[in-house]
Amino acid sequence: MDLTFSEAELAFRDELRSWLADHHPGEMPHGDEDEQYAFRRDWQRTLYDGGWAAVHWPSRYGGRDATLTQSAIYFEELGRARAPLAANVLGLLLAGPTIMAWGTEEQQDRYLTPILSAEEIWCQGFSEPEAGSDLASLKTKAVRDGDEWVVTGQKVWTSGAQHSKWCMLVARTDQDVPKHKGLSYFLMDMEQAEIQVRPLVQITGEAEFNELFIEEARIPHENLLGGEGNGWKVALTTLMNERAGLGFFLQVRMRNVLDDLVTAAVQNGRIDDPVVADRLGDLHLRTENLRLLAYRGLSTIERYGQPGPEGSLTKWLWSETNQLLAQTAADVVGADALVAGTPWAYELLRSRGNSIEGGTTEILKNIVAERVLRLPRAA
């Protein structure tokens, strides 16, 4: 057990810190979403030019062959510097690694570099309105027509679709086999009139997500990834990569918000109320627990080649803590936290989505019970 960073890890961190000090894009513009998106796209170009867009990618694809720990350091440092997320975060974290795992050489050559440079933005077309957490019941269907597939259906929770050139699409290509057996995974060009993108406004008033209405959109057969009928397996690769390193970014972001809250409590004197201190102490504990569990998870993967129980716990703990943090902030900060547009008010609304997006807490607990603790499946 050694919880210090190695020489190589420290060198990596220091190089990044010093690069970040020189290239930090400043604070994200407030308000307009298109403007924010452009800002994040520029920021990814800056990262790309510096060789910092995707440190966890192999160097032959433009990455840095970062170890898991380095990758964690990377996201922690970005978070600590309060730098924005790269625009093409789904491409970098999900599409890229999935294409590396399942794509042909041609596909890898075609898609990876534009992902890295933010030239081509990606979105994820998995969820459907009727399916919710139940991926096996997807209804969007793709029918073979010569060299093409014709796709019809509806997708939901597609973040960034309005900016995307490509979509990781899971669709049903065989109606006659049960559940997830008839699914295939496509790389779908979003620039066609047969795809309507409708923003899905959240309770915050923003539209991070979209609905996709797909009416006979066309996908060349060569854009099938991993072979016909293998969509479930390929999608699992994507899902496995979800939040891999991003977790560290989110956790540091939470730490920043907590630090801001403690600062506010020190400044307005509420920290002297032992009840407030008790709640802040609890939040500090939870935030540190999250960091420690995340690092312990990395060591487990490094040793055993697969995530330990920690992996299924961190997203749940993160979302619960983030919600608690936002509610505590409202109590400690007071009226400002209820004024639309303040960062506290934003957290109070946005955090409600944390326990739903990327797997509801209920589903995550089921997974912990059934896959980690090996309890019998619910009837």
Binding site: S127, L200, Q202, I203, A330, D331, A335, V339, I356, T361
Partner: protein, 335 residues
């Protein structure tokens, strides 16, 4: 001992429910919230029905009923989430009637009761509902409550996260306005009970919507409401709602009939309602899944109103501290 409403009280509540269901369905709440306006016609109608003055003495032109009856209306108001200056004006009437002097009452209660003017109650560090349109503002601080006319106060409208209601920050120079000479805490406690009543309605509606949704919505081939986690969540929402409701009815009754128990009742009601409604409305979003997090679903209005109402005139923390003092006094009296 009868914890049930009288026939008259039931009738008032039922009529209010039916009226608001018709006049303020969620489509209208949404339209008003999105345009940050009120349905002025609804307010006119409520005024004609005598809602603002229901708990104001008849000698001042009110309906002469009690806090219990007012609370039935406010609960239905919270249930419908109707946007209007009703809560603020009713609170203003309650506090003025309880702590004002004869002159203050005679000057203002008839105008509040008739709906000629609207009023509000608040503190300088909080978001005060419907202060901008109010002719009369009761501003509370450590020294007591001051009665301020609109021109005596600085009112700065703000967009709160709850767009179903108008809010503002209110302040006034030292010495402005006239103090209310009566028992300030007892007056504010009446207002707290009334806020709690609205929150009970918010909580109940969030539960109703959730139950309807999970009965209908299917996942993995079965209704979501058949999952034990969802069932237990809904059961917990019911416990919060019914606890807040029982405490609020008790406190409302104490305000009318047993003022010595009002302090405890108000603290119980506001604590149970404030904490309960935050839990139930957050739970409602969660039980709706992804849909619950979207603007187009209606649950978020309730979550937002809950946050504002929970903080208004003191939240769960402040009320629990009071309850602990009361509990200590209780045993010290015995020891």
């Amino acid at each position: 001992m009868n914890f049930d409403f009288s026939e008259d009280q039931h009738e008032i509540k039922r009529t209010a429910h039916d009226l608001l269901a018709k006049r303020s369905p969620l489509e209208r709440v949404r339209a008003a919230a999105e345009s940050r306006t009120y349905d002025d016609g609804l307010w006119t109608e409520l005024v004609e029905l005598g809602w603002p003055g229901i708990a104001i003495d008849e000698q001042h032109g009110g309906g002469g009923l009690g806090v219990v009856e007012l609370c039935t209306l406010l609960e239905e108001g919270g249930h419908a989430l109707a946007g209007s200056p009703f809560l603020a004006t009713a609170l203003c009437g309650l506090v003025l009637q309880a702590a004002g002097d004869d002159g203050q009452r005679a000057a203002w209660l008839p105008r509040l009761a008739s709906g000629e003017v609207t009023g509000t109650v608040g503190t300088a560090d909080a978001l005060v509902p419907d202060a901008d349109g109010a002719a009369l503002l009761l501003l509370a601080d450590a020294d007591g409550i001051r009665l301020l006319e609109r021109y005596e106060a600085t009112v700065e409208p703000v967009d709160a996260i709850d767009p179903t209601r108008r809010y503002a920050r209110v302040s006034a120079p030292a010495g402005a306005g006239s103090p209310l000479p009566g028992d300030v805490e007892a007056a504010l406690d009446r207002a707290r009970v009334a806020v709690a009543a609205e929150l009970v309605g918010v909580s109940a509606r969030a539960l109703e919507m959730t139950v309807a949704y999970v009965q209908d919505r299917k996942q993995f081939g079965v209704p979501v409401g058949s999952f034990q986690a969802v069932q237990h969540r809904c059961a917990q929402m019911l416990l919060h709602t019914e606890s807040a409701r029982a405490a609020t009815y008790f406190a409302a009754w104490a305000a009318d009939a047993d003022p010595e128990r009002l302090a405890e009742g108000a603290a119980l009601a506001k604590a149970a309602a404030s904490d309960g409604v935050r839990e139930t409305t957050a739970s409602a979003i969660q039980a709706h899944g992804g849909i619950g997090f979207t603007w187009e679903a209606d649950v978020h209005w309730f979550y937002k109103r809950a946050q504002l109402g929970a903080a208004y005139l003191g939240g769960g923390g402040a009320m629990r501290a009071r309850l602990a003092r009361l509990a200590a006094r209780r045993v010290e009296a015995v020891v």
